[in-house]
């Protein structure tokens, strides 16, 4: 039942989905990078109450399925906040929020890895707290966490297809539609798998390079 013709046809049908997947990955990743840092700083600086809430939220979000969170955000949080974003934005924000909980731990590990002497030296120089963070600690912590952030970006890329559950036409969504139009799903899904393999494999090699460059052993 396999048709090579459909297989090759599905390539161009999936391309528009590829852009959606890319856009969701990039926007979600940016959100995760920024929000993750905010979460990590709240916990490191030990802002009272907020710090505990962040801790609980991070633990909870990390232990529950992204798919349910995407539904929750789309069907519950959005109406509750009185906004109506498109499925794409709603899903991307849920994705970014989910991964922010992972990246916050990455930042935390990166901050912890800055030697204690750096803090002591900043105190000795009586640098203000803000300057200690922005001028001393973060510039040392962030390069170390880049490879881990890269790995998460690849994971996000592979999880964007979940957005199809709220109607976003990404690569897999496009494959699904293509399959429904042609009464034959196997070619398009195989092509979707190849898309992911071809894109995520070189990225993981790139991340390994980054690792070798920034993380000293």
């Amino acid at each position: 039942m396999w048709s090579w013709e459909l297989f090759w046809d599905s390539f161009s049908a999936l391309l528009p989905g590829l852009w959606i997947t890319f856009a969701a990955t990039v926007c979600g990743a940016l959100l995760a990078y920024v929000l993750g840092l905010v979460f990590a700083l709240i916990r490191q600086v030990r802002v009272p109450v907020l710090s505990q809430i962040t801790f609980g939220l991070v633990e909870f979000i990390r232990s529950t399925p992204l798919l349910v969170q995407i539904f929750f955000f789309y069907w519950v949080v959005q109406p509750w906040m009185g906004v109506q974003w498109s499925a794409f934005w709603s899903g991307t924000i849920a994705l970014g929020l989910h991964y922010a909980c992972y990246t916050s731990e990455v930042y935390r590990a990166g901050i912890d890895a800055v030697p204690k002497g750096q803090w002591e030296a900043s105190t000795a120089l009586s640098l203000p707290r803000r300057r200690t963070w922005t001028g001393v600690i973060l510039p040392q912590a962030i390069p170390r966490v880049l490879p881990a952030l890269g790995n998460y970006t690849i994971s996000m890329f592979k999880e964007t297809p979940l957005l199809l559950a709220i109607g976003v036409i990404d690569i897999v969504g496009a494959a699904k539609d293509f399959g429904a139009d042609h009464y034959s799903v196997e070619e398009a899904y195989t092509m979707a798998g190849i898309f992911f393999l071809v894109l995520s494999f070189p990225s993981s090699i790139l991340v390994r390079r980054l690792e070798r460059r920034f993380v000293k052993h």
């Binding site: 039942m1 798919l67 539904f71 069907w75 509750w80 990166g110 979707a192």
Partner: protein, 245 residues
């Protein structure tokens, strides 16, 4: 708002067994595949290493949802044999997480100090004895924290099965949504809390195992300060900062 709570609870609980079956089934396949593929990654034979590498990279490189759709929807057409969605789901969960687990096992075996192997050689252990008596017991304990994370990832992935019509918790919630539109928040909160509870159970069991394994090796158990591991969900086989251990 809460008047239908009892009904929601009842409907969602009907999905709980499926979530649990999928998790346990997935975990069983994951363990088997990670041990086989992980040891194969360290094999002396180049062909074995190559096949295992293809499996690991193939499943880690593609999206889990694509794998699920492929095995649940495309494969039946190609081979003319339809798996029950739940079984197809369990198979995908196992295959996918087994690929990550293979790297865990490989890393753990490699982390056993070389002197241990040399000691076993000096004591005239056969290669099989060396593996069974010396390397694996020490590698085993190293695999427990990363496997804890992996199993929680697997639990979370069971929600995907809703998309191939397995009547697990997420699917049950989805069935309720069109009927109880305004109360959908309560429904989702119930399943989120249930998932969280299940993940706490997994962590609890793995901690017990870890303690037992440490005692068997005559080591002191490691203390944990958070509920889940700080590295939960890390690309497996790496440290918090992404470096290979």
């Amino acid at each position: 708002m809460l008047d239908n709570f009892g009904y929601f609870w009842e409907v969602v609980l009907k999905g709980l067994p499926y979530t649990v079956y999928a998790t346990l089934g997935g975990i069983a396949i994951t363990i088997v595949l990670s041990v086989i593929a992980g040891l194969a990654l360290l094999s002396g034979s180049r062909t074995v290493r190559f096949i295992s590498r293809i499996y690991v990279e193939g499943f880690r490189g593609t999206s889990e949802l694509v794998q699920l759709f492929w095995i649940a929807l495309a494969l039946p057409i190609l081979i003319g044999f339809q798996l029950v969605p739940l079984w197809a789901g369990i198979l995908v969960l196992g295959l996918n997480h087994g690929a990550y687990g293979a790297e865990v096992v490989r890393g753990a075996v490699q982390s056993v100090p070389k002197a241990q192997v040399e000691g076993a050689v000096a004591l005239n252990f056969t290669p099989a004895q060396r593996m069974r008596r010396v390397i694996l017991p020490q590698a085993f304990i190293e695999t427990l924290p990363p496997f804890n994370n992996l199993f929680i990832q697997l639990l979370k992935s069971t929600a995907l099965l809703a998309l191939v019509s397995v009547p697990e918790m997420t699917k049950q919630a989805e069935e309720l949504r069109p009927i109880f539109g305004g109360q959908v928040g309560v429904i989702y909160l119930i399943i989120l809390v249930l998932y969280f509870a299940l993940s706490v159970v997994i962590t609890f069991v793995m901690r017990l195992l870890e303690r037992a394994a440490a005692r068997r090796l005559g080591r002191r158990p490691v203390k944990h300060d958070t509920l889940s591991d700080p590295l939960a969900g890390m690309p497996v086989g790496g440290s918090a900062l992404g470096g290979k251990p």
